[in-house]
Symmetry: C2
Subunit: 336 residues, 2 copies
């Protein structure tokens, strides 16, 4: 079948998706029976390109490299979907965790006009996961967001598909690569300021590292996982949150020398009828599944009734990695 | 939607599936929109039970505990499917890797009469993966086998669904829990004979441990993964295979003392147009994703173009664990 894709957002992730479609479009059609036709690309910063017959992804990339697309950006997603006959809107816009915008309006516009919606943005999930999922379900559409947690490492697919039928009692994750990189380097002898500076130099940490080092980023991801795994909406203020800024390199190195590793563990578990959520540095023993997860890698361990513990690890960020999440979501909608 | 299940095989795995349906049937319907109706249960050793209105799983379990089912076992799966209106045949019969039977005939019988086929048996895959998958595809049916590798740990779902769109270049796995348990104990100071005896006492190893310790079991699993990941059929004789029986406890312990771990690694990779497959003990450095996988746990690392390395680990055997694989396969056929 054909997926007619309207892509919103031409930053690193959007460009990476266009690049993948350019390199692998024909292969994807053969392997999954899904014909990927890019009908619209738009970003308020660079304009838009549209062709209901299908854009040439290579030509779009060249235009983006030159800095601009030929048409005016259109803010009304419903209008884009209808005029271009888009079957799926792929949202790679920046995240605003407070308002959920622009992803939230993009989602409502896509779903209300009959298109599936796939996103890498945490924003719409943080503020309206249930609303959007119900909106999609009522219309027989898909609302998918593999890239919102651990980029393309398929944690959400694992929970939804691979573990279907299991009951989950607990999830523990290393959901922030920046702090895991810092802790790995502190275990090797760096001080906290040295580790932070190195993470900033490598582009892992922002100039203002608060969202990472104070644990806001993994806390938001826990809220998304609470919805995925337990169908419960919790707010980030309900997460008991401690970051890593109170740790010294000495503490982390001392734990490493005694065979333990300090990790910023994001945990979610059931307690009676409640869902408990916590982000906190913990010293993990050598037999903990997350003990050996080093560097900017992300990982999550899921406790289940039928399988005991299952762990998945992989990249937690990156342009191709996050674009891959959009791709697997699009393929899952329409494959053979 | 409703899935009308004909279950073949009432050993530990079959009974575990009936137990799960008994405990969680109503929950599964609510969570996935799939109504599980068990219409037939049969095993040549204990007879059969059939009710086109749906058997009571609890009553079937009680009959099995008393040692027999009320009706005669029926060998003709097509006849069972047609007379009971089964929509899916769940196969939990023993594996014969040489003939693929009885799973192979069960698969052909189910698919030719219009029922989906899900199995935990490596046999049908080892001898006829392509034939059965094409047979299913032509008829618009599913042929699924999550339980054939790593029991219910969803490695196959990860490759098929979670990594859809990625190109895979290499897989390395610890696909045999018995030998991984033995190697873990040898690293702790046991000799090879001591580790083998302990694994036999715990029920991990058979009285004749050849299939495990000589690497036949992971070699067959590599053949299945070659089909899943690369759409290539290779025979077990094409796997370059070395088991662990040539290792001493001393060797394994010495590696552990120097920070490496000896693992029986099953590897699959592309080389030009060829698929290479190898089972071989290897000393893994501390930064290898499989380094810390201890005890009877299984794990696999998958090298991809878009995501780099992704690793999944979990149980590789067990009755509930393997029944879970059948369950997730059945849910994936007919969920909302």
């Amino acid at each position: 079948m054909e997926q007619r894709i309207a892509l919103l957002g031409c930053g690193n992730v959007g460009k990476a998706l266009i690049g993948i479609l350019n390199r692998k479009g024909r292969h994807l059609e053969g392997a999954y029976g899904v014909r990927m036709r890019l009908v619209y690309v738009g970003d308020p910063r660079v304009g838009a390109a549209a062709d209901s017959q299908g854009l040439d992804p290579g030509a779009v990339l060249e235009m983006l490299d030159r800095g601009a697309l030929p048409e005016a950006f259109r803010g009304d997603v419903s209008e884009v979907v209808k005029s271009m006959g888009a079957t799926v809107v792929a949202d790679a816009t920046p995240t605003d965790l407070r308002t959920g915008e622009p992803g939230l309006s993009n989602a409502r516009g896509a779903l209300s006009s009959g298109a599936h919606f796939v996103t890498t943005s945490k924003g719409p999930l943080a503020v309206a996961a249930r609303e959007l999922e119900e909106m999609a379900r009522e219309r027989g559409l898909k609302f998918l967001y593999e890239g919102a947690v651990m980029s393309g490492t398929p944690l959400i697919s694992l929970i939804r598909n691979g573990l279907a039928g299991c009951s989950i009692s607990r999830i523990e994750g290393i959901l922030n690569g920046t702090t895991n990189y810092m802790l790995t380097r502190m275990a090797q002898g760096l001080s906290y300021p040295e580790a932070l500076e190195e993470a900033q130099d490598l582009g892992y940490a922002e100039a203002d590292p608060t969202a990472d080092v104070e644990g806001f980023d993994p806390a938001v991801k826990l809220c998304i996982l609470a919805w995925v795994a337990f169908r419960r909406e919790i707010g980030v203020d309900q997460v008991d949150r401690t970051g890593i800024s109170g740790l010294t390199g000495e503490q982390v190195e001392r734990a490493a020398r005694s065979g333990r590793s300090v990790k910023l563990v994001a945990s979610l578990w059931t307690q009676g009828e409640s869902i408990m959520a916590q982000v906190k540095p913990q010293e993990l023993e050598a037999d903990h599944p997350l003990h050996g997860i080093g560097g900017a890698v992300n990982a999550a361990t899921i406790w289940t009734d039928h399988l005991g513990k299952v762990t998945v690890s992989g990249p937690g960020a990156g342009r191709d990695e996050t674009a891959q999440a959009l791709l697997t979501d699009i393929i899952s909608i329409g494959r053979d």
